[in-house]
Amino acid sequence: MNPILTIFWKEVRENLRDRRTVLNTLLTGPLLAPLLFVLLINIAVTRELDKAEKPLPVPVVGAEHAPHLIAALKQAGAEIKDAPADPERAVREQDADLVLRIPATYAEAWAKGEPAQVELIYDQSQRDASASVARLRGMLEAYGQRTGVLRLVARGLSSNTIRPVVVANRDQSTAQARGGLMFSMLPYFFILGAFVGGMALAIDTTAGERERQSLEPLLVNPLGRGAILTGKLGATSAFALTSLLLSIVAFSVAGQFMPTGRLGMSLAIGPRFALLTLVAMLPLVVLLATLQTLAAAFAKSFREAQTYLSLLMFVPVIPTLLLSMFPLKTQAWMYAVPLLGQQVTLMRLLRGDVVTPAQLALCFAATALAALLAWLAATQVYRSERLAISG
């Protein structure tokens, strides 16, 4: 048998016997992230929708000053409640999402036909409350507008007088694209799945082998160090790939249970998405496995290698963060940058946008080239004398 295959199968077999590695590779890495993701989105969406449909509780201070306004709010779906003693503090401490305060001067201003002020007390930084605030503000504005129109009509004027410009919204995003915005973190989860999947082996086959003093005997066998490295990389990549495959399958299944329809979105999760994702990710899996092995090869011990790899884990998040902070227009060169290329490709696939074969090929080839360079670098490290010495 080819010595590379011998090394490959030995590493696979040995690591399959390690329960912790198997759990991390086959469960934690690939399943936890997508499932958690789906669960969180589900909870967020459901809460958001429930809030929109349920009556909106509105604590009001001084309701007796504006019986008309209160009646209108009740009609619009607000549930008027007694206000807490100190509204500002209640909002700051998140005991209430918002409080409406109607000052005593309201009735007087209203009677004179002057702008009557109401105070809306809320906390902008409290994202959870923003939907409620927007709803109440909408109700108040609608009431104000309706009253204004009635007053104009009473004076014999057309309501158009105060509406010189009307905006009509024409949203060009497709239902899938709206979904995509929400799922911009997803490529990172896939990349993370592959990363976690390869981690245990990358450490075990390099720093681990050195720490348990089995590297030197291994290197005495009559085969080149390139072959040893390639066999080990193959095993690491195989575990990472398994992890990724499970990630994609888990997400494809769990994705069906996401309430995307209720939000008017649709996601293109299907066999085609799974297949093209796999193609785009394949060279990245090898690249990550090689980088992990390279980083771990510099480490003297298992623990040191774990530290290096934990730091390396932050690298894949960079393009994800960049793209979510600066939503750049997709440019051709992006496909040629490993990680960024996968991010862009996966996002477009998820949104149902077209990814041409040329773009996919560029993404694949560029990352494959990077993987090859990393492999060459790792071979150089493996040839060094320092690597072999355990003590």
Binding site: K10, E14, R212, Q213, S214, V220
Partner: protein
Amino acid sequence: MIEVRDLHKAFGAVKAVDGVSFAARDGEITGLLGPNGAGKTTTLRMLYTLMRPDRGQVVIDGIDAAADPLAVRRRLGVLPDARGLYKRLSARENIDYFARLQGLDEATRRARIDALVDALDMADIAERHTEGFSQGQRVKTAIARALVHDPNNVILDEPTNGLDVMATRAMRTFMRKLRDEGRCVLFSSHIMQEVGALCDRIVVIAHGRVVADESPEALREQTGAASLEDAFVKIIGSEEGLAA
């Protein structure tokens, strides 16, 4: 047959090996004796091509190690200083892994492993995972995997390190058996009695140089010392690092 000619190896400013030459012949046990830090392990590492000498030549069975390291490794069975096993594999799987890497076919592998399991008296541990093995069981497994390809030359770095009395005796018997089979056996040690009891020839290394290359008897006669230990102290010129 192992020939070493004028080996040099420096780590930074430290000259670990500084002009070592000797020969270990087939059918003999050659002992590399020296205090800790004398350069024994570094010399052996250059012999089994793990390290490249700065200067000098290693020739195994007529093959230059620098020119064809793979051919040289095929002719060597090595028990290095580091002798870690794969703990999630059984002893037999550990040995079989190296047999495959040596390129042996399945029938040869089975025959060789059975023979070694028998010769090293490890039938009771062969199918067990090596996690939790005693030091002696670990060394046996490491030796079996080092010799699985039936090499003509055997290099053992401190083979009895950490072994109890019984295991040490068994190891000595096994080394004599290897010699009687006509192999070239080279081992390093810092333990006097062991070298005296086993070796046909002693190469004493101190401070990276060969300071004596004789038979045990000749060594005693040459120095006029009554015991080998006294001879050793005279040769290296101090008692430093002597842990007999």
